[in-house]
Symmetry: C2
Subunit: 221 residues, 2 copies
Amino acid sequence: MNEYKIIEIKKSIFEDNAKQADLLRSKLKKSGTFLLNLMSSPGSGKTSTVLRTAEFLKDEMKMGVLEADIDSDVDAMAVSRAGVKVIQLHTGGMCHLDAEMTEQGLDGLGTDGLDFVILENVGNLICTAQFDTGAVKNAMILSVPEGDDKPLKYPLMFSLADVLLVNKIDAVDFFDFNMDLLRSRAEKLNPDIIIIPVSAKTGEGMDIWIEWIRTEIRDWK
Amino acid sequence: MNEYKIIEIKKSIFEDNAKQADLLRSKLKKSGTFLLNLMSSPGSGKTSTVLRTAEFLKDEMKMGVLEADIDSDVDAMAVSRAGVKVIQLHTGGMCHLDAEMTEQGLDGLGTDGLDFVILENVGNLICTAQFDTGAVKNAMILSVPEGDDKPLKYPLMFSLADVLLVNKIDAVDFFDFNMDLLRSRAEKLNPDIIIIPVSAKTGEGMDIWIEWIRTEIRDWK
């Protein structure tokens, strides 16, 4: 028996997503739920990062996860197995979530008493960046094998991320990846971006990521 | 001085993309130009694969490349440097190309006398799969670091690919990637899919890929 629900997300009826996103942020502020929007390409390590994050934080605060996907519930299954409150959202072919769709997910999850919710967005560097989800902060993952040229090709995503996790850093010697070049390309688009090299596999750098989350939540409250 | 044009692609005005795609295929048949649509996530190795393919085929047939991206022209630059006729298409935020947009690209490139054109589609496993580009065949790349679970999450892409290149196979021991599992998941969606493990970096498997292209072009002519 699944310990999580699956919701088929409906297309939004609202035309003004920016307004809906601000409304959602106000609601979250009132309920004291910090929502983090986590975006990346397919296979960059979003779910592994969520699982590692939960290891650190699930006993420290009340945590929940929204898993968004076109199809399947493998991610929700993994997160549920780790003992974290989770819901699977199916977008029915849509490649993004906007604020109203995110709210459908939060309503399904139930945010009562939750301090921290991660929205694992659809695996995509384009559409997801085009819609404000109503999250308090935006995190993105770029994994080393994807290459250091990605800011050149997906500038919007890099320009709106508050924090960039450079994942699979344990594989950096195996690939032709220049961290300094990545850093300068990302900072050119977004001078305030926080860049944290991590490995969700080995745990490297996760303490810095967790400290970033703790600080953001504390400052926001 | 750039040896390639950059075209800002316009949104299509046609409502019936399937019809436009069939029309484009007829035109290509008449001109004898085999169009291959190459799709993958960002950073799976589309451009490296195009470059390797050109090494094998550019002296054997008249070849051209359409590079589609949200922004930047780094890929067209690389392909141009390799001595292949290329044009950069900018989609202006759109995450896919449909048949009419592809035709804008082909018109810009000029297909006169070209035997083989690769369309390097936007880096994306979702939107690109939702639009028939008018190509004769669809190829997709999944790279090993992305994981063997991708068919579960992006079923449409796997179900319409004629051939699947499993790239970065030289890194297979470094990642937790089960080729048999990937194969069974992909074949469940698409029993006819051809799966070729390759490394665009080391050249492994490229001869099989090139032979697949040669055979497809010969059978189509």
